[in-house]
């Protein structure tokens, strides 16, 4: 099988792992499952799209579909590079800010009132609904509708009610295949996130403070760690990574789904939780692996199984496999795959099949 067949599964798996890690980061610190987390990606995608389209309209940039070569590598980049960079930065910052807003404006005050973790989890649900409401209003604002109309006349159909910027995705030639920029970007981002977070949590002062705050918040406080701020940083990071995933969602709608206030949230939120739990809710690297694993199961293993068993309808039932993965993990290895100690081969779970 060529690389092309792996594009959609790899993209999906990387997106899931980028989102799962945030669920784990926020759960580890505050012991709250964040229902709004996946929505950060949607919010970030909307803001990134609005920013990029504004720049396109303002500078009157047209799409450049020509295949170009740099250093012997062929690539297609429909928009100037800096627009992608701006979109990426906007998406990640918006994701981070939304997350930190939830932490400081809602979770902290409610926690101080003495609400238990379960009630806090429901409050994240409440915040999530407010985000949806905000997005519904945002996308139907006159400036945004005007923006979409202007952008459509320059680069082709743009519609904020079912947003997708697939036609502005970049390509790069690897071997014989033109690889989608969103696929490569998602994959690279998942790997970079793993490395950066591993370094951050194990080697830096912030990481030490974070680990001590998670292990024993009171003792960390007594040792002079500003536990609230450390947790807020963890939440910000979680939102930042979700925002990056949101940026990538814009270009991967042919793999996943168009973007609307409720999409792709409704179809992936359970898989994201599944990735986080299967990989290990107390382990950052584990959750990245877990998200990847769930992604590969849903988009690669199940179709493969369907082909082998010649039962094409099986593909539609892929979420059932995630359900079983979560059930089995929670019931038998509650701390996830990362908690298993492989005495002979110390190998990270997930990604092994790729």
């Amino acid at each position: 099988m060529g690389f092309a067949a792996f594009m959609a599964p790899l993209y999906y798996a990387s997106i899931l792992s980028l989102l799962s890690v945030g669920i784990t980061l926020s759960y580890m610190t505050t012991k709250v499952f964040n229902f709004a987390h996946v929505r950060y990606a949607t919010v970030a995608a909307y803001f990134a799209a609005a920013t990029m389209l504004t720049l396109i309209v303002h500078h009157h940039i047209t799409l450049n579909a020509a295949t170009r070569t740099i250093g012997g590598i062929q690539y297609i980049m429909p928009l100037p590079g800096w627009i992608y960079v701006v979109g990426f930065v906007v998406a990640s910052i918006v994701g981070g800010l939304v997350s930190i807003f939830l932490y400081y404006a809602i979770l902290k005050p409610l926690e101080r009132k003495g609400l238990p973790p379960l009630a806090l989890m429901i409050s994240t649900l409440g915040f999530d609904f407010l985000l949806v409401a905000f997005l519904f209003i945002f996308m139907s604002e006159k400036p945004i509708i005007n923006l979409a109309a202007k952008a459509s006349s320059i680069i082709g159909t743009v519609n904020f009610a079912s947003l997708g910027l697939d036609f502005t995705d970049a390509y790069i030639r690897i071997g014989n295949t033109m690889v989608r920029g969103s696929v490569l970007g998602a994959l690279v981002l998942a790997v970079v996130t793993t490395i950066v977070l591993t370094f951050l949590t194990r080697k830096t002062k912030l990481g030490i403070m974070m680990r001590s705050s998670i292990e024993n918040p009171n003792l960390a406080l007594v040792l002079g760690v500003n536990v609230d701020r450390v947790f807020a940083i963890a939440w910000f990071l979680a939102g930042l990574i979700a925002g990056m995933a949101g940026f990538l969602l814009l270009f991967g709608t042919s793999f996943l789904k168009f973007i609307s206030p409720t999409s792709p949230y409704n179809s992936i939120v359970v898989s994201v939780f599944a990735g986080s739990i299967v990989g290990g809710i107390f382990n950052v690297e584990g959750s990245i692996g877990g998200g990847f694993l769930i992604g590969l199961i849903e988009k690669w293993f199940v179709p493969w199984l369907a082909a082998v068993l010649s039962m094409p309808s099986l593909i539609k039932y892929n979420k059932v496999f995630s359900m079983f993965a979560v059930a089995l993990t929670l019931l038998f290895i509650p701390e996830g795959l990362a908690s298993i100690r492989f005495s002979k081969f110390r190998k990270k779970k997930g990604g092994g099949e790729a």
């Binding site: 407010l130 519904f136 209003i137 006159k142 739990i277 539609k316 039932y317 019931l331």
Partner: protein, 373 residues
């Protein structure tokens, strides 16, 4: 006038159905402390009983006398078969219809309870948020199975199955369905109030508040949790049946996207029980009434007009999306405001009523020592 009647019917139907489904969740989450985030799947069982099983049974009877109706046709050509039956069969067989309604209620109780029993198996091992996530995932898995299995939910997930019009024998089936919905809600209310003050209800709350102490008193917490899960889920199943039989909320069909909808049947009930007060049956009722009236009357009815009003101004909001946004904002704000200002709800959990002391002292029930005197 007719507009007013329809509005009243809509509001009452909303209140009745949401009361039953929320009280089922309240029994699990409020009384027993099981954070069920998969409540929609139990609700869906009730919808499936009506849309699938009852239609099949009715078709088996109707096939003998009505041309064009076959048992296989219920799934294969669902809309056509059900339209024929709704026009030519159900209006003329009132006793069969009533029998089918009762049968549907019994079946949905059993099916909801059975699924609740299965779901209680992991509920005995897991606690807190983990259980919530597991139940959420299981509900999603079940939704996927039902969505794509033709023999269960018909060929298209969004259209689903038409429901039999079991109230078509009455003069005004809308009024009849509304009255039926309200009666069911009242029966459920009487049941949970009784349960609340019964030894079983006290045991639920005792096990919720302190498992170890309850175990130490010789009660098996595992069975208590299982019972709460079964009863709560069975109530959700009943709510699903009532919903499927109701023309205002159900709209004459059940589809996987509507009956398994986690926003409608899991998160809304959560918002309602938080608003009403956990483990408070009256509170849930009041919350359902407040939300039912304000959602259907001002929010749904006028949001479109408000949006049009705003649309005329510089804002330029799409009315449809504005209505949608308002509903989401409404539920989100309810959750957050209630949690911030009245964490125990509008009617906090009442203390359970025990035997009045005077009765006790008068010696109707005497403790063993005093009898000896």
């Amino acid at each position: 006038m007719t507009n007013f009647v329809i509005l009243a019917e809509q509001i009452l139907s909303f209140i009745g159905i949401y009361y039953i489904v929320s009280i089922g969740l309240n029994l699990k989450a409020g009384h027993m402390g099981i954070p069920d985030f998969g409540h929609a799947m139990f609700f869906a069982m009730g919808g499936i009983v009506v849309g699938n099983i009852v239609s099949h049974l009715a078709a088996a009877v109707a096939a003998k006398s009505i041309p064009g109706v076959t048992v296989a046709g219920v799934i294969a050509s669902n809309t056509k078969t059900l339209t024929i039956m709704n026009r030519q069969f159900f209006p003329h067989h009132p006793f069969l219809d009533i029998g089918l309604i009762i049968l549907a209620l019994i079946l949905s109780t059993l099916l909801g309870g059975f699924l609740g029993w299965i779901a209680s198996l992991p509920a005995l091992r897991l606690r807190g948020e983990f259980l919530a996530i597991l139940l959420l995932t299981v509900a999603e898995g079940l939704r996927v199975i039902f969505t794509y299995t033709k023999s269960l939910m018909g060929s298209t997930p969004t259209v689903g199955l038409s429901t039999p019009a079991l109230f078509s024998w009455t003069h005004n089936s809308g009024v009849a369905a509304t009255v039926f919905t309200i009666i069911m809600a009242l029966i459920v209310y009487a049941f949970v109030e009784r349960l609340h003050n019964s030894p079983a209800g006290r045991l639920f709350r005792a096990a919720r508040d302190d498992e170890d102490a309850t175990e130490a008193l010789g009660k098996n917490v595992v069975t208590v949790r299982r019972d709460a899960m079964i009863i709560g889920s069975a109530l959700a199943g009943i709510a699903g049946t009532v919903y499927a039989l109701n023309p205002f909320l159900g709209g004459g069909s059940v589809a996987a996207v509507s009956i398994f909808n986690r926003v409608w049947w899991t998160f809304w009930p959560w918002a309602l029980i938080i608003l009403g007060g956990m483990a408070s049956n009256k509170g849930t009722g009041l919350a359902t009434i407040i939300v039912g009236v304000s959602l259907i009357w001002p929010v749904r009815l006028y949001s479109f007009k408000v949006a049009q009003l705003l649309h005329a101004s510089a804002l330029g909001i799409n009315p449809d999306q504005f209505a949608n946004a308002l509903e989401y904002a409404f539920i989100g704000l309810i959750i957050l405001i209630v949690q911030a200002s009245l964490p125990r709800g509008i009617i906090p959990e009442p203390p359970s009523r025990t035997l009045p002391f005077e009765k006790y002292a008068k010696g109707r029930i005497l403790p063993p020592e005093s009898k000896k005197k």
